[in-house]
């Protein structure tokens, strides 16, 4: 921040006020950064857990997936995603979307006509799809939180390393300057007084 400052008492007062505001804003951004770091870590852990679960289920599914190629049934009709219910939430200024519930269309299979595997496979497909949707939402949440964390960190660093030190330096410069001016004025006044006294004595 390289700006010209007026070396007067008004500027000094304004800068002191600015410094006060900066000093009160800094802990807010530090706290926000801390809070967001914790939430980001939690979301990252959740993503990792969901990924592991999805991988594990896919490995388990491999044991019976052959039946999904059954020519009698089209498995894509087994699971119909009806609604993903989410709710908005604000964490340290970041607006995120939280997963609440997932609704699949009611599939009332004819238990007499459909193959036996349909029951278990439908549940497993729905569960895995739910995990996948939760993972997508967590990824989106992470993007928003990381953006907000980046912004909070940027503001904290700007305050800590630029605004506050520069303002302190400017205050110091003005105070020195005003001090010099004051001393000069006193010196001048003393000199004038001395000259007047000397003049009186000679008269």
């Amino acid at each position: 921040m390289d700006r010209k400052i007026l070396m007067n008492k008004n500027t000094l007062a304004a800068l002191k006020l600015e410094l006060k505001e900066y000093n009160s804003a800094l802990p807010v951004f530090e706290m926000k950064e801390q809070q967001l770091k914790q939430v980001v870590q939690a979301v990252e852990e959740s993503i990792l857990r969901l990924r592991q679960e999805i991988k594990q289920v896919a490995m388990e599914t491999k044991k019976w997936a052959a039946v999904l190629a059954d020519r009698e049934v089209d498995p894509s009709n087994l699971v119909e995603l009806e609604q993903v219910i989410t709710k908005p939430r604000e964490i340290a200024g970041a607006r995120i979307t939280e997963f609440v519930e997932i609704k699949f269309g009611d599939k009332d299979f004819d238990l007499f006509l459909t193959p036996l595997w349909v029951d278990t496979a439908t549940d497993m497909l729905a569960d895995q799809k739910t995990r996948q949707i939760m993972l997508d939402l967590e990824r989106k949440k992470l993007d928003v939180l990381q953006e907000e964390l980046y912004e909070a960190r940027r503001m904290k660093n700007a305050l800590k390393e630029v605004f506050i030190p520069e303002t302190i330096e400017n205050i110091r410069k003005i105070e020195i300057y005003l001090g010099d001016v004051e001393r000069l004025a006193i010196g001048c006044a003393k000199l004038v007084k001395k000259k007047k006294t000397e003049k009186k004595m000679t008269v």
């Binding site: 019976w64 997936a65 190629a69 059954d70 498995p75 699971v79 007499f112 949707i133």
Partner: protein
């Protein structure tokens, strides 16, 4: 198929065994396709077989062979069939499907699971294991009914139903199944 009588036809058909074996599958496919004069892998083996078999049957018998299939064998028209084998198998499948439906209903409702599970011949396993058991039970019942039928319409009906069971069994493919699983679960079409 080389021209001949029904006995020759039946003797020249590839042997069928309840196995998910690529070699057996390819041999059966090759023989049926060769006999029928087709080479395309996409064609239906049951259609090849029926197409050849009806050449040795009367119109009435040919119609009976054509309409019988595994998916609808439980229907009342088959339970009332004049052919004893068809009647018995239709009644068996009807009862078997009924017991499976009861079992599935009970499995949905966990409170009645234990009592109803005892009445089904299916051992709990993965969806694939359970479905193979279902096919095997259907296969074995046909084997049981086959005794005494060697060169008649009933033998052809049994062969057709066996072939349908095998075609379904052979359609169970892990690679294709996993592709389907991924395409369904990885498609997240929410807003």
């Amino acid at each position: 198929m080389i021209a001949g009588n029904l006995e020759y036809l039946i003797n020249s058909l590839p042997d069928l065994a309840f196995r998910h074996d690529k070699e057996v599958q390819e041999r059966v496919e090759y023989l049926l396709q060769t006999y029928a004069g087709h080479q395309s892998e996409q064609d239906d083996l049951v259609s090849f077989f029926v197409g050849e078999a009806i050449k040795f049957l009367s119109d009435r018998e040919a119609e009976q062979l054509q309409i019988i299939n595994l998916q609808s064998i439980h229907e009342s028209r088959f339970q009332d069939s004049r052919i004893r084998l068809v009647r018995e198998y239709a009644e068996f499948i009807y009862a078997f499907k009924g017991s499976l439906a009861t079992y599935r209903m009970a499995r949905r409702d966990s409170t009645t699971q234990h009592s109803s599970a005892k009445h089904t011949p299916i051992k709990q396993g993965t969806p694939l294991e359970e479905e193979v058991q279902v096919l095997q039970i259907q296969w074995e019942k046909l084997e049981e009914l086959a005794s005494g039928h060697h060169y008649d319409l009933e033998a052809l009906i049994i062969y057709k139903l066996h072939l349908e069971i095998l075609q379904r069994y052979w359609s169970f493919d892990e690679g294709k199944g996993m592709d389907i699983f991924k395409s369904i679960t990885e498609k997240t079409e929410h807003g």
